[in-house]
Each structure stands twice: as structure tokens, then as C-alpha cells.
Amino acid sequence: MLIKCPHCGTRPVEEFTFLGDADVKRPATTDPSSMDQWFDYVYLRDNPKGRFNEYVHHSGGCRAWLVITRDTQTHEVFGCVTARDWAKKQGAVR
């Protein structure tokens, strides 16, 4: 599998480390009533067949955390943005 790092260009998957679902968002609260949100954030993960946004780390390259959109069945990569930009976009949507 090849991933096009926004900084480094196209690199093979061996240079990357996968973390998982990028559609989870760390709760902004420490209120005790938010425990359910925290459980969801820490433990609940979707495992879809098809399109999936996931965190990958360009650990063997520029060390940027990225979010790739990938088809989990065909491994086709539709896009890749930095986690930094993803976080900004996520913040804007919510």
C-alpha cells in the first residue's frame, strides 16, 4: 500500500504506523457526568467495511500524524491530510 504524505509525497506503508479510527474526539470535559463519553472515546471503535478515516503516523518519515481515508476492503487510499488540519476541521464541524 502506498500513502501520499502531504509533506513527503508517496511512500510505502512500511514507513507508517497505524493507530485507528480518526472519527473519535477527545471529550473537552472532566465533569464526572461525562464518563460515558470518555468510555466511548477510549474504547468504542467502529470497524467498517469500506471507507474509513484513520490516524497514521509517518514514523519512518517526517513524523507527522496523518489521517488517511481508506477503503478497508480494497486498501484504496482516497485522501490524506495532516492530523493538525483534521483536528481543525473536526473542531469547526462540531
Binding site: 509533506h7 513527503c8 509525497g9 511512500r11 510505502p12 512500511e14 514507513e15 519512518g60 518519515g61 517526517c62 513524523r63 507527522a64 495532516t82 493538525r84
Partner: protein, 199 residues
């Protein structure tokens, strides 16, 4: 009094001058260690990219390079090495001087960290240099794709490498010091079939 002459390269025992590997005509590659050298990691502070680049131009004679690019001035060269991160490299400077100068001139604009001892720079050049490097890096180094002034952060033989194309047919490979001996051994073995010179 301390001088950089007291610095001991981790490759001082391994990089012995001479001709090695296959004996067919000119050596396929020539290898050498750039030592002693000053290396400073410069990381741009938040929101200061423009001011940083301008100040750098004043201090060193070059702007901040674009991703995967290197620039060189009279006293130093600068290599992109990650988002908002650069290596500034210079030879012939006293211990800590480059670091102190950069820290002073870039105060408030960038965080500077001396890495002069933490990384080892290996120079490799010659007609077979791309054949040797292709045994390690997945980066396409074809001259049309990766010309002089390009650089990349990649992995070779399981070791993180900052790879920069300097001059017309030369490359600099910068690795963590602790891996340098192991990496050197691998690199010279990959060069054997073409014959190599350590100079």
C-alpha cells in the same frame, strides 16, 4: 583549551581510507564521514513562520526551504526535516557556536536544539550512488524526480535517515549517532558489488 579536535567520531574506527569491494575500474561510489560538523535543529514557533524566514535570510542568507528542499549559503546549509523543522548544518565552527548564534538571532521565532553530536552525516557520491541507495530507500531518486536541492526523511535498513541531494551527484545521509556504525556497515556492504572508495 577545548577544541573540536577533541571530538571523536563514532565512525573513526570504521571509516578507514582505501579502496574496497569489487575491483572493476573506477569505484562505483565514494564514501566519507562529515566530521566534525555543527548541526542544529530549528523548529518554528507557532505563527512565526514568516518572521522566522525573514530573520533567517538576514542571519544565514537563505529563507526557510519548502518541504523536501535544501538550500545552502556561504557558511551553512539548511534542510527541511519535517513540518516547520529544519536542520542547519555548518562545518568549521567551534563547539556550540552555531547553536548559540541561531538561538540568539531566532529568539522568540524558533526553538533551537544542538544536534551536532547526535547525528552523523555520511557523504556518498559516484556513478552508482543511486543503485546503492535504491537498496535502502523507497524514495524514487531518479534525477528527473529527485534533483539537486531535494531532500527526504526516510528509512534505510530499518534506520531513520535524512537524505539530501547535494551537488550534482552527491548525497548526504544523516542518521542517529547510535546507529551510525551499524548503518555504515550495511551501506558499505551494499556498495561492494560496484567497488567503493572511502576518502
Amino acid at each position: 583549551m577545548l577544541s573540536t579536535a577533541h571530538r571523536l567520531s563514532p565512525l573513526s574506527d570504521a571509516a578507514i581510507q582505501g579502496r574496497f569491494g569489487a575491483e572493476k575500474g573506477q569505484p562505483g561510489v565514494t564514501l566519507s564521514v562529515r566530521h566534525p560538523v555543527s548541526i542544529v535543529t530549528v523548529m518554528v514557533r507557532k505563527g512565526k513562520a514568516k518572521a522566522f524566514s525573514a530573520t533567517l535570510k538576514e542571519a544565514c542568507g537563505f529563507n526557510a526551504p519548502a518541504p523536501c528542499q535544501s538550500l545552502s549559503g556561504k557558511r551553512a546549509a539548511i534542510h527541511w526535516c519535517g513540518a516547520d523543522q529544519y536542520y542547519v548544518v555548518a562545518a568549521g565552527m567551534a563547539e556550540g557556536t552555531l547553536y548559540r548564534e541561531l538561538k540568539e538571532s531566532l529568539a522568540g521565532l524558533a526553538s533551537c536544539v544542538d544536534q551536532s553530536h547526535g547525528r552523523v552525516i555520511i557523504q556518498i557520491a559516484g556513478p552508482k550512488v543511486r543503485n546503492v541507495l535504491a537498496k535502502g530507500t523507497p524514495v524514487d531518486l531518479h534525477p528527473l524526480v529527485f534533483g539537486p536541492g531535494q531532500c527526504a526523511v526516510t528509512q534505510m535498513a530499518h534506520v531513520g535517515v535524512h537524505l539530501a541531494h547535494v551537488g550534482t551527484d552527491g548525497f548526504e545521509l544523516s542518521v542517529f549517532r547510535g546507529f551510525s556504525e551499524s548503518f555504515w556497515e550495511w551501506l558499505t556492504e551494499q556498495s561492494e558489488e560496484f567497488g567503493y572508495q572511502i576518502g
